[in-house]
């Protein structure tokens, strides 16, 4: 018999989706923000990014080869995404050796010991960022001020959030437009809000993620801040400025669009995603307003990551035929 029939049960065709394609799309969606960072902070950020991605991929390859054993998994590009996100969560003037430590924590502590992609309970990039923030607080919070000439200024500046925490900010006159375009101090990936939103649009168009998590986070932050503002300021203008400030400052947009939406550590159902998003938004604002740290996005995501298994267990999608 020359020809043999091949037998496997239905479905017999497959969509073009693959893990690699999805990860590739996330990388593409992050490129505009990276480009703005290069424009604002200079070529140095590319070095940090390359270092971070290189280390993440290298560590994953080595761990896979010598400890986990089995098929090499770096081709699914997830390590590249982790590396890219980790880099974008660092100040533009971070020493490179800290980047290496971060990559080691992300891959060697937060990801591979659990069995690699798909099994880690916490977002590796955030675990690494939080670890670095606690271990190297000075380096992680000395932010280079953006400079329009494309160079990093010699002195370090406080982030808008840190300034706000210290009570140094005048919300009536703050330059919101500048913040939208990336003219503020912070981790180099989080400053370019417009570029990040462009990436969000791309992810939505490519159906990589759904709107539920980012929108519920942003909406919660805005509502929370507006309510707080309404109680603590006299004019509605100040209150709305306060809300806008909290939306645009720090890592809210980067976190909402790229970190909280990490497939592995976010809920499986749309209802669950909204709960998760509201939780992250609320926790972020609680930490920002009453906590010890000026920024709470990373902590909020980590805390909500730990709730995800519970959400998945109890929040079920609406079954067909069940009451709406």
């Amino acid at each position: 018999m020359a020809n043999r029939t091949i037998v496997a049960s239905a479905p017999h065709i497959h969509s073009s989706l693959s893990t690699t394609r999805l990860m590739g799309d996330v990388i593409i969606a992050l490129l505009p923000a990276l480009a703005v960072s290069v424009y604002v902070y200079g070529w140095g950020v590319l070095g940090i990014t390359a270092m971070s991605i290189g280390c993440c991929v290298l560590f994953e390859a080595l761990i896979q080869k010598f400890f986990v054993r089995g098929k090499q998994t770096i081709t699914n590009l997830s390590a590249v995404v982790t590396g890219l996100l980790l880099a974008m969560n660092m100040p533009a003037n971070i020493p490179l050796w800290i980047v290496v430590v971060g990559a080691l924590v992300a891959i060697g502590v937060a990801k591979m010991p659990f069995g690699g992609l798909g099994k880690n309970p916490f977002n590796p990039a955030i675990v690494a960022r939080v670890f670095l923030l606690i271990a190297y607080p000075v380096q992680m919070t000395s932010f280079a001020m953006p400079s329009t000439e494309g160079f990093v200024d010699a002195y370090s500046g406080a982030t808008p959030l840190a300034a706000a925490k210290a009570g140094l900010l005048n919300f009536a006159e703050y330059d919101m437009l500048g913040m939208l375009a990336g003219n503020m101090a912070g981790s180099f990936g989080e400053v370019a809000t417009l570029a990040l939103l462009l990436g969000f649009a791309y992810l939505l168009v490519r159906r990589v993620i759904t709107w539920h998590i980012p929108v519920s986070i942003l909406a919660t932050v805005a509502i929370f801040a507006a309510l707080y503002g309404a109680f603590s300021f006299d004019t509605p203008h100040l209150a709305s400025n306060f809300a806008l400030f909290h939306l645009l400052s720090g890592g809210v947009v980067l976190g909402a669009v790229f970190m909280a939406t990490d497939y592995v550590t976010s809920p499986m159902t749309t209802k669950g995603m909204v709960i998760y998003g509201v939780g992250i938004g609320a926790l972020t604002m609680i930490i920002r307003l009453w906590g010890a740290y000026p920024e709470g996005m990373s902590f909020a995501i980590l805390i909500m990551n730990s709730v995800v298994p519970l959400i998945n267990k109890y929040i079920k999608p609406r079954r067909f035929g069940a009451k709406k």
């Binding site: 018999m1 043999r4 029939t5 091949i6 037998v7 496997a8 049960s9």
Partner: protein
């Protein structure tokens, strides 16, 4: 220094209070249980394989302690020695059961049973057998995707890559029956275990008519009945075009082995009988 002492003292107090609460709770909610259950459980092998029909060794231990007559309970993993020890401890009559071994009744190796299609689905016998007949035209034989291997808690059954069939390591097999349940084709049977792992069995479970079986597999039983005619102990029956050797009646005389025209009767650990002339060579098919 003061802070340190204070901290240590606080911790100690908390520890003591917690211990007292735990003790009270443990006393209050103590479940009265026959202490012999624990002892019996310790005597059992602890494999928790479920071969006895209970969810685990503790289940069997409970039943052994509670039931008056334990003749229907048996742990095939522990075997006769273990059961005797348990029965002596409980002062009951030890259940007796002949030693058994799992036997894969399929001889349709890659060579004997031509492949006619390629299975590209999930490598699971249960899924493949729900999809279609399998890679060969025999609807009864071993599929070789190893559901039994996965079910075995004792590493006693493996797929031989050369034949594509499951093979039992009789020394490791405890006759727990997990593989028997896991096999969707019903190929595996628990048979009497002879000394030195000797065995004679029909290595085929095909109920197809002889001509159909022969077309699909050169090693299949065609139900010709020659073996049953030659058997002096009435151990061989033919039903649904298939010979079956009752292992409790078989005496390993080997006469049937020489009669079988397709070699479907398999012999392990025994030398073949000296050849004798056959009166007729025509194979009988139904």
């Amino acid at each position: 220094m003061n802070t340190l002492l204070f901290t240590i003292a606080t911790l100690c107090v908390i520890g003591v209070v917690a211990a007292i609460i735990l003790y009270i709770v443990a006393q209050k909610f103590k479940v009265e249980e026959d202490p012999r259950i624990d002892d019996v459980e310790k005597m059992l092998p602890g494999a928790n394989c479920g071969g006895c029909g209970f969810p685990g060794c503790r289940g069997l231990a409970c039943a052994l302690v509670e039931q008056e007559d334990i003749s229907s309970l048996y742990c095939s993993v522990g075997g006769a020695d273990c059961m005797k020890a348990v029965a002596d401890y409980l002062g009951k009559a030890a259940p007796v059961k002949e030693a058994q071994v799992a036997t894969v009744r399929c001889g349709g190796s890659c060579e004997k049973r031509p492949r006619t299609s390629t299975y590209a689905g999930t490598k699971s016998c249960a899924i493949a057998s729900a999809t279609y007949v399998g890679e060969t035209n025999c609807a009864y034989g071993c599929l070789g995707y190893g559901d039994c291997v996965e079910a075995c808690a004792f590493d006693a059954i493996h797929i031989n890559p050369e034949t594509g069939l499951a093979e039992v390591d009789a020394d490791k097999c405890t006759a727990c029956g997990a593989c028997v349940k896991a096999c969707p084709k019903g190929v595996i049977e628990l048979r009497k275990k002879w000394p030195k792992n000797r065995a004679i069995y029909v290595s085929c479970v095909s109920k197809d008519k002889g001509a159909v079986t022969m077309k699909a597999c050169k090693a299949g039983c065609i139900g010709c009945g020659k073996c049953s005619k030659v058997c002096e102990f009435g151990a061989i029956t033919i039903e649904n075009n298939l010979a079956f050797i009752d292992s409790t009646k078989c005496r390993l005389c080997r006469k049937c082995v020489a009669e079988c025209p397709t070699g479907a009767i398999k012999m392990i650990g025994l030398a073949p009988l000296p050849p004798k002339e056959k009166p007729e060579t025509k194979t009988e098919t139904k």
